[in-house]
């Protein structure tokens, strides 16, 4: 296997608060290859957005990266100066946010924003920049791009704005797009269109995609591999099909089981009891143990390591024990 496009090793992010320092991410590692689509799934507060922001060094005070490496094509992004980081951000790696208005400036026309972004990273003449911008607008299936070019963001609908944001993200031919809940603010029909578009673009241009979302349905349709996060830690990583079909970690099982489409109509849903702990009160041992239906004694005291099998990994004592017995059985 070739070197991964992006590899995150043992990343730890802390937030220095008034009285205490909170650990928002602990020992997060994952990698993504060129052209691959990776989903990061978790509930609010699980640390999935923090992980995405830390890749681009966008964590603002009081948060900071306290340990770990973020290797992009072999270069450690945590050690780059602001100037070098800017060359990568928006150029080699692009980001799409939940709210398109976070990326779009309301007082500039769509065209100005697109060409400005190009000028920032490339030496181009105005007509050249305009041509590339038009091309990208057409790529994201915006009807009559010439007319949109001179419009302001507020004149466009939510779905149209998110298309413009995607066009912006594609401008510099990035190798990696990080999309943080790109369709949460949109309606289902628009969400479907945007996801189709992202999928189509990633495949046709061989761009890698990190899709951060709470929606397992979206992840299962768009990504090839998925990471499930809980309380700042990766609890399971596997090919998306595997996760959907037969998740190993009790939390992932719970998340999937809780979806209404997994249960027969009018029957009680399989719910996970309790709530995810706040960062201030993460329990010792496995963070999921107070909610886990299969909790063992060891779960309460010892943080589970990763059990790795067939390109999937799970942080769960019970799964580790099962794998051990399976291994013994196959030996004998």
């Amino acid at each position: 296997m070739s070197v991964a496009l992006l590899e995150i090793r043992n990343l730890e992010v802390r937030f220095a608060m008034r009285h205490v320092t909170l650990v928002a991410l602990r020992d997060v590692s994952f990698a993504i290859n060129r052209g691959e689509r990776l989903g990061i799934v978790g509930e609010s507060g699980a640390g999935k957005s923090v992980a995405a922001f830390s890749i681009l060094n966008l964590i603002s005070k009081p948060g900071y990266i306290s340990a770990g490496e973020i290797l992009f094509e072999g270069r450690d992004l945590t050690k780059l100066g602001p100037q070098e980081m800017r060359k990568i951000r928006g150029n080699r790696i692009s980001m799409i946010f939940q709210d398109p208005m976070m990326t779009l400036n309301p007082v500039l026309t769509v065209g100005t924003q697109l060409t400005e972004c190009l000028h920032a990273h490339r030496e181009l003449s105005e007509p050249e920049a305009r041509e590339i911008a038009m091309e990208r607008l057409a790529q994201v299936h915006i009807p009559s791009p010439e007319a949109r070019f001179d419009q302001y963001p507020h004149e466009l609908s939510g779905g149209m704005r998110q298309r413009i944001v995607i066009a912006t993200a594609l401008l510099t031919n990035p190798w990696l797009i990080i999309a943080d809940e790109p369709t949460t603010a949109l309606d289902v029909t628009i969400q479907a269109e945007i996801m189709d578009l992202l999928l189509e673009l990633c495949e046709s241009q061989n761009v890698a995609l990190i899709l951060i979302t709470h929606d397992l349905g979206v992840v299962s349709q768009v990504t090839e591999r998925a990471i499930v996060m809980y309380a700042g830690r990766v609890v399971e990583e596997a090919p998306t099909r595997e996760i959907v079909r037969a998740a190993k970690h009790p939390y992932t099982q719970g998340l999937i089981g809780a979806l209404p489409q997994q249960t027969e109509s009018r029957r009680r849903l399989k719910q996970i009891r309790g709530v995810m702990p706040a960062l201030t009160e993460i329990p010792p041992g496995c963070a999921f143990h107070p909610r886990c239906p299969y909790v063992l004694d060891v779960c309460r005291v010892q943080l589970p390591g990763y059990s790795i099998k067939n390109g999937a990994r799970v942080a769960c004592h019970m799964v580790a024990a099962q794998m051990q017995t399976e291994a013994k059985e196959s030996e004998s």
Binding site: T189, G217, S220, R241, Q261, V275
Partner: protein, 340 residues
């Protein structure tokens, strides 16, 4: 259960609500070609909505943002005064009632809100929040009886009794939503309007709240009007579904029928857009164009601009909801003419 055979608890007839855009007289004056004219525009949130809620069912109203589903809910609860149309509860017209005459209905009809962070008064303890409606609707009860009644409700929705002296900001979204549900159930209502009650919650918490709502319905024999944009929730919880688009109802059908054989072109597009876990290559029906503004509604069928089946008639005639033998009601010329 046989749907549509029961008695209608709530009847909504030809309901319409417009929100004027220019409220002041001066805002209405426009200067055009040397002439001053008075312009009054309005947002037509709902136009001519008809449906019944049958006793004991869970009618889900589904649609995308801006389709008027919340306006319908608020009009039924008397939080908004409809521009025209009628709302009946047990055959008594309630949209014209005021003050004291409305009180008996207030007790029977309760509402659960979307945002658990805004629906509880931040300056009131859980106990005060829960006891106030009971004390108000049952003035004859002694403080001890009120305490018992709220304690029972709290237990039934999984609210810990030790929470009573605490304030809303100390709770998570899911816990707050439980408190909200307890407040609605505390006065023993018959009919509950739930306006997107789970859309602000995390996936694992959504399941808890949905289970709670279904349990409450079973135990108390409640009737629900459930407003949501989440079709998988509809599929799970609803006995019947009303699909809304741009202020009108396009299709009402029993849930299974609707999901198996959607008839209205919009319903078909909407259902195809649900992200399903087990589909690898989804085949979404693409709609052309965008949702028109509710200020200048298109003539004829409001959906015609985005519909591939639209013909001349759809541009001029407004389709009415028509009931078919299966209990399905569809407002579409193409379906009626058998073109679809």
């Amino acid at each position: 259960m046989t749907v549509g055979s029961g008695r209608a608890l709530v009847e909504v007839r030809n309901l319409a609500k417009e929100f004027p855009l220019q409220t002041g007289f001066l805002e209405q004056l426009h200067f055009n070609h040397g002439r001053i004219s008075r312009v009054r525009e309005s947002v037509k949130a709902i136009n001519g909505v008809d449906f019944d809620v049958v006793k004991g069912e869970a009618l889900c109203v589904v649609g995308e943002s801006g389709c008027g589903k919340s306006t319908v809910a608020r009009a039924i609860m008397g939080l908004l005064k409809p521009t025209s149309g009628e709302i009946r509860y047990e055959n008594k017209r309630i949209d014209t009632l005021k003050g004291k005459n409305l009180l008996p209905f207030r007790r029977k009809m309760q509402m659960i809100f979307q945002n658990p962070y805004a629906s509880l008064n931040p300056r009131m303890t859980v106990q005060k929040t829960l006891q106030e409606p009971v004390r108000f609707h049952y003035p004859d009860l002694s403080p001890a009886e009120i305490g018992e009644k709220t304690a029972a409700v709290m237990q039934s929705v999984g609210v810990d009794p030790s929470w009573t002296v605490r304030y809303p900001h100390e709770f998570s979204g899911g816990q707050r939503q439980r408190i909200s549900i307890a407040r609605a159930l505390a006065v023993d209502p018959e009919f509950i309007v739930a306006d997107e009650p789970i859309s602000a919650l995390d996936v694992s918490i959504q399941a808890q709240v949905l289970n709670l709502l279904m349990d409450a319905q079973e135990q108390r024999g409640l009737t629900y009007l459930f407003i949501t944009h989440d079709l998988s929730v509809v599929e799970h919880l609803g006995t019947r579904v009303a699909v809304m688009y741009l202020g009108t109802v396009c299709e009402i059908a029993p849930t299974r029928t609707l999901f198996a054989t959607p008839q209205h072109p919009y319903t078909q597009a909407l259902l195809s857009a649900i992200p399903r876990l087990n589909e690898v290559r989804p085949n979404h029906i693409k709609l052309r164009g965008e949702v028109p503004t509710p200020i200048n509604l298109p003539k004829g069928c409001v959906f015609h601009g985005r519909c591939i089946h639209a013909n001349e008639r759809c541009l001029h005639d407004v389709p009415r909801l028509r009931k078919a033998a299966s209990g399905v009601q569809v407002a579409c010329h193409a379906v009626e003419e058998g073109r679809l």
